[in-house]
């Protein structure tokens, strides 16, 4: 999967999980501040990312993923190419 494919896929998952439009998922957007996610929605999003990219995101690293950009960077760094 290319970097842009990964990014596209992540945006799709975020749109689906948080029920927001593609136009809302700028890299700078915070899941909790801007996209209406609560703590349970974050857990659900993390699990969906794990399933889709076949990775494990340890609970103590979830705090690193606060924005759309954080998610793209985190997954891109770890996703098998």
């Amino acid at each position: 999967m290319s970097a842009s494919e990964i990014e596209t896929k992540i945006r799709e998952i975020i749109c689906d999980q948080l029920d927001v439009g593609a136009e809302d998922v700028d890299a700078s957007k915070s899941f909790t501040e801007d996209l209406g996610a609560d703590s349970l929605a974050i857990v659900e999003l993390v699990l969906a990312l794990e399933e889709n990219f076949d990775i494990k995101i340890p609970d103590d690293e979830v705090d690193q993923i606060r924005t759309v950009g954080d998610a793209i960077k985190y997954i891109s760094d770890r996703s098998r190419g």
């Binding site: 349970l40 929605a41 659900e44 699990l47 794990e50 399933e51």
Partner: protein, 413 residues
């Protein structure tokens, strides 16, 4: 002196339709909402029929992402609460939110979510097989919790659980809260959605359900000699109860007054009613005493009437309480003949039906009463609705565990 309790809003959902108008039209037309089960493959099940809610679009009341965060019984509760609140004309931001409460229960609660999660746990394991929403999706008090969040009700909040008497108990207990002065408005009732393999299988295993699979619309046949069990069904019934003076002060239309409530226990058996309906008799008498009414004042009883052996016991109990009046003008009907048995939602759905009967001057019928059981010998309003103006109606609800509830309403037109 207890405060008077008004009913100012009704929200209902059943296999007969969504909302008061659709349900009332079908009830007066004597239509059945029962059909073949579509929710799961019934091949190996002895019971293949149920009352499924159809044409319900939860996105009228819930955002898409919220749907998977809640069991279906909570979708139903939220929808009916919204309908009842809309009819009552309550403010979106109540000025005294701590004086608004929610008592909404369920019999079984989120069994659909439990079953699907056990399946996904087996398939995907504990990390990905169990949603972070699993617990709040299924626990019974989350119906009331979700309603309180949506309608900003900061007063008393509980989920009552008393099997098939749940909805009636939630309403009766909510009325007590108002009568005692602890809240001015209570959103109250029950909700249920359990057309699932384990639920149908469980009730079937207890031999509680009709197996008249070839004639779904004739399967729920209370008070007949050929009745062979209840038909499991789903839906919700939610009322807005309000302190009488509070409703008057804000100019709300009062639909009915809740004048009497009785609740007690048989202390006899988990599923069988006590002989001669001794517990049910005491319960009806408690409601009459609470209302300060003689038995002769009651014009209509919406019976528990589930289409099981217990129908003849309820008949005996009514005779025990109402004496000569049971043959002297009292009419009794079981609307479960049309809706099937909404379990935890039955008592509150039927409370709404009783109120509509009082307001409209029409008694909905007991359909399928083709072959009355000789032991069931009251005026059950067979087959066709009847125009009849009555002042007071009683709604009976009895549940597994020997728990009983009776509500009495006075119509306000």
């Amino acid at each position: 002196m207890p405060r008077r309790v008004a009913v100012t809003g009704l929200g209902v959902l059943s296999p007969l339709g969504v909302g008061v108008d659709a349900n009332w039209r079908a009830l007066c037309a004597g239509e059945s909402g029962i059909g073949p089960i579509t929710r799961f493959d019934t091949t190996d099940f002895p019971v293949k029929i149920a009352g499924e809610v159809r044409d319900f679009d939860p996105t009228r009341w819930l955002a898409k992402r919220e749907l998977r965060q809640m069991d279906v019984f909570i979708h139903y509760a939220i929808a009916c609460a919204a309908m009842a609140v809309e009819q009552a004309g309550l403010d979106r931001e109540p000025p005294e939110a701590e004086r608004y409460g929610v008592y909404v229960g369920a019999g079984l609660g989120g069994i659909t979510t439990i079953e699907s999660t056990i399946a996904s746990l087996r398939e995907k394991g504990p990390r990905h097989g169990i949603s972070p929403y699993f617990v709040p999706a299924l626990i019974i008090n989350l119906a009331g919790g979700q309603i309180s969040i949506r309608h900003k009700c900061k007063g008393p909040n509980m989920g009552h659980v008393s099997a098939c008497a749940t909805g009636a108990h939630a309403i009766g207990e909510a009325a007590r809260v108002i009568a005692y002065g602890e809240a001015d408005v209570m959103i109250a009732g029950g909700s249920e959605s359990t057309v699932t393999p384990v639920s149908i299988g469980g009730f079937a295993s207890a031999r509680a359900l009709s197996t008249r699979n070839d004639e779904p619309t004739r399967a729920s046949r209370p008070f007949t000699a050929s009745r062979d069990g209840f038909v499991l069904s789903e839906g919700a019934g939610i009322l807005v109860l309000e302190a009488w003076e509070h409703a008057k002060a804000r100019g709300a239309e009062i639909l009915a007054e809740l004048v009497g409530y009785g609740r007690n226990a048989d202390a006899y058996h988990v599923t069988l009613p006590s002989p001669d309906g001794e517990g049910a008799q005491r319960c009806m008498r408690l409601a009459l005493a609470d209302a300060g009414l003689a038995p002769e004042a009651i014009g209509y009883i919406n019976a528990h009437g589930t289409s099981t052996a217990a129908d003849s016991i309820e008949t005996k109990a009514v005779r025990g309480v109402f004496g000569k009046h049971a043959d002297g003008g009292l009419v009794v009907s079981s609307t479960k003949s049309m809706t099937g048995h909404l379990l935890g939602a039955a008592g509150s759905f039927e409370a709404a039906v009783s109120i509509l009967a009082l307001r409209e001057g029409i008694i909905p019928p007991t359909i399928n009463l083709d072959d009355p059981d000789p032991a069931c010998d009251l005026d059950y309003v067979p087959h066709r609705a009847r125009e009849l103006s009555v002042e007071y109606a009683m709604s009976n609800s009895f549940g597994f565990g020997g728990t009983n509830a009776a509500l009495i309403f006075r119509g306000v037109r």
